[in-house]
């Protein structure tokens, strides 16, 4: 039981963190056709701003303010940047966000330095909530689940119960029609972009002290978030949720499995020997293959089912 339950809980926490990032990205991607490379950069900015603010005004105020800062940055990017490149097509927009990520990464290194900053869990939540088979479950992870779950509920209510939400939903699938009906689609775009960046910033605030706040955090998480979005499928928030949890679980479980293919195929590997390339591939432990799996999943799904798990149209 213990090798299943603990990774299950941790995988769920990690998956929820991924979902906070991926939900904003999938909304932006589905509506505007722009795969926002800078999204993980915004996540990183959220973490760093929260670090600075938690020293000045405390963690709880940072929890409110830092995501708002990120939303403002996002709105600025959309209005002054993306909208200007829009007439050059999706590739130009993609490249714009790509360049932006470049600048954000170096900018963060310049402002906050190359080394990790000591962004810690607030003292109020720094205690083990319960013990499970001898392993503590920190209260902060429960708090993360609470925030992520609350946000999930809020998005759901916003999208299904409000007028803006209905327009956003319609723009996901039929942007031209929505525009023809007289809605200000560019303004909806700005709103969604700012909203997505708000979520990324919030994920940064609660994820920065769960992981490590360092300049490489965006580059290491960014591609994983793309995997989540592509794997879940375009235009589907529930697909995004499922794939976040799946990727979170896959990565957590892979780390906790210590075996390798060689354990299953013992005699064959003994015959090949571990001294050559084939033997090495077979005898590598699953825990080290973990980082490979999400990318293999993405390449596979793009080859055979380009619309993703629950997508409504091809990527």
């Amino acid at each position: 039981m213990e090798i299943v339950l603990n990774p299950l809980l941790n995988g769920f926490v990690y998956g929820m963190l991924l979902f906070m990032l991926a939900s904003g990205l999938t909304l932006i991607f589905s509506m505007m056709g722009v795969l926002n490379f800078a999204h993980a950069g915004i996540y990183m900015i959220g973490a760093y701003v929260a670090f600075d603010m938690s020293r000045l005004i405390g963690f709880w105020a940072a929890l409110i303010v830092a995501p708002l800062v990120c939303a403002a940055i996002g709105a600025g990017i959309e209005v002054w940047g993306l909208r200007r490149t829009h007439h050059n097509g999706h590739i130009a927009e993609l490249l714009f966000t790509f360049g932006l990520f470049f600048i954000i990464e170096r900018g963060v290194q310049m402002v906050w330095g190359m080394l990790p900053v000591p962004y810690r869990v607030p003292a109020l939540l720094d205690f083990p909530l319960f013990r499970l088979y001898g392993v503590d479950f920190p209260a902060y992870r429960a708090f993360m689940l609470l925030i992520a779950g609350g946000m999930l509920l809020a998005i759901r209510l916003l999208l299904t119960r409000t007028r803006v939400g209905l327009i956003i939903q319609a723009s996901l699938t039929h942007p031209q029609m929505v525009s023809s009906l007289g809605h200000n689609v560019p303004r909806v775009f700005t709103l969604v972009f700012a909203g997505g960046c708000y979520l990324a910033g919030l994920a940064g605030v609660i994820g920065g002290n769960y992981q490590v706040t360092e300049p490489a955090m965006a580059a290491s998480l960014g591609p994983i978030v793309f995997v989540v979005v592509v794997f879940g499928g375009l235009g589907s928030l529930s697909g995004c949720f499922v794939s976040s949890i799946v990727i979170g679980m896959v990565q957590t479980f892979a780390v906790s499995i210590d075996g390798s293919l060689a354990d299953l195929l013992g005699p064959i590997v003994a015959w090949i020997g571990t001294d050559n390339l084939a033997g090495e591939i077979l005898s590598i432990p699953v825990s080290r293959v973990g980082p490979l799996l999400p990318y293999a999943m993405m390449v596979g799904i793009l080859m055979f089912r380009p619309r993703g798990l629950m997508g409504t149209r091809d990527t």
Binding site: A92, L292, Y295
Partner: protein
């Protein structure tokens, strides 16, 4: 429209330009020849060698980006795998089990690049546009992770190293001196560039352009866009492999950096800044970025910020890159009107310079607050140490940046008016 205005520059003139470029490449090591030590400048040689490889690499990338409209985020995979294989070739040559002279080893690297291009291309060519970009991103990350993980082929984090003098030579050269390697790189750069230029003139090159511009129509005409994508990908793998082979020969070590996302990102920047819609654009981009890389990185911690801003500026204001900017002057130059732009350009250059100084001042001051202080460095300008914690330098940069920016905007509008007038005038005359 008049024939003369529409016709591209004469073939012979283009040929002269190419010849001049090659001549500069040949002469460059001797321009920086140090007569005291009777040696070429090592810095210049390293930089020029790097330029050669990057020219091949970005030209091969442009076979996808510019010519086929495919955005790849994992092109370094083909480059790096060519490099890894070259190291193994050279090692084998050391054991006398690989009797190929060093001059032809880049060709072998190209063939392995072609092989990997066929494998990766088979996977990636199933999709186009954003999905293609994502597949290549995934393949790139897969290969980088595998490069760190497997020791037999990739050597893990330390990479694998070799000795290029293992191989024999067709001309009896030892290739111990880097100037010999430089001329080898130059020769292969010219060959590869000619090969890629030739490919753009073939039916395949034309079909790549067709699938880029309208893939549905290309399909209606009976061509399979997937096959076109596959062929372009595999062939660009061939040329990227040549670049990787030269990389391995020059540095004699290949680590996972050569397949990493950073290099893939670099080639996107080079190709786009140079201009993806022109054949010679990536050459300009590769030369410019390598110059910045070797020159600016010595002066500034934050040189990548400048490259990033340049890239974003290009994406927003000049999507056809440097080559596009130069090309736009073509009709005016042929009509002999380029002189009329001299004064507007001079007027533009003053606020542009002010803004540039202001911007780089802001970047440098910020970087000296953090990275510079961590390294114990001080900002020294014109022989005077500037105190970055006092308000004066910040106020000066703010004035330059904001004032210069506003002024630049006004001048840009004026310049655009003159530009449009000149071009409209040109059109009227030719009608």
């Amino acid at each position: 429209m008049n024939e003369a205005a529409a016709k591209p520059p004469k073939r012979s003139r283009q040929l002269w330009l190419w010849a001049a470029l090659i001549l500069i490449g040949v002469a460059m090591p001797w321009v920086f020849y140090d007569w005291h030590t009777a040696r070429q400048s090592g810095f210049v040689l390293t930089m020029m060698s790097q330029m050669g490889m990057m020219v091949i690499f970005s030209l091969s990338y442009n076979m996808l980006m510019g010519q086929s409209g495919l955005l790849s985020f994992g092109h370094a995979v083909l480059f790096g795998l060519g490099g890894y294989c070259t190291v193994h070739f050279l090692e084998a040559a050391g054991h006398h089990s690989f009797p190929v002279p060093l001059e032809l080893i880049p060709l072998c690297a190209g063939l392995t690049g072609l092989g990997f291009g066929i494998v990766y291309g088979y996977i990636a060519a199933t999709q186009r546009a954003t999905a293609f970009a994502m597949i290549t991103l995934g393949l790139g990350e897969l290969t980088t992770t595998a490069g760190i993980m497997f020791h037999h082929f990739f050597g893990g984090e330390g990479g694998i190293s070799t000795d290029r003098t293992n191989a024999s030579s067709l001309f009896g050269l030892s290739y111990g001196a880097s100037v010999q390697v430089y001329y080898l790189i130059l020769a292969w750069t010219v060959l590869a560039a000619l090969g890629m230029l030739f490919l753009t003139k073939t039916p395949l090159g034309a079909m790549a352009n067709a699938t880029r511009d309208n893939f549905e129509r290309a399909r209606f005409m009976g061509y399979d866009p997937r096959r076109v994508r596959f062929l372009q990908f595999a062939l660009s793998g061939f040329f990227a492999g040549i670049g990787g082979g030269l990389y391995a020969i020059t540095y004699e070590i290949v680590t996972y950096d050569a397949v990493s996302g950073a290099l893939s990102a670099n080639v996107v920047l080079m190709t786009y800044i140079g201009g993806a819609t022109f054949f010679y654009g990536p050459i300009l981009g590769a030369i410019l970025i390598t110059l910045l890389q070797s020159g600016l990185s010595l002066l500034s911690n934050a040189w990548l910020i400048y490259v990033g801003v340049l890239f974003i500026g290009m994406v927003t204001f000049a999507p056809s890159g440097l080559a596009g900017i130069i090309g736009a002057h073509g009709p005016l130059a042929r009509a002999g009107r380029l002189g009329r732009l001299l004064v507007p350009y001079l007027r533009l250059s003053i606020p542009a310079f002010a803004t540039l100084i202001g911007f780089s001042g802001a970047v440098e001051l910020t970087s000296f607050l953090t990275i510079g202080e961590a390294q114990g460095k001080h900002l020294v300008l014109f022989g005077e140490t500037i105190q970055v914690w006092t308000p004066q330098p910040w106020i000066v940069t703010a004035i330059l940046l904001i004032g210069g920016g506003i002024w630049l905007r006004r001048e840009c509008r004026a310049f655009a008016r003159i530009w449009d007038d000149l071009n409209a005038d040109l059109k009227d005359r030719s009608l």
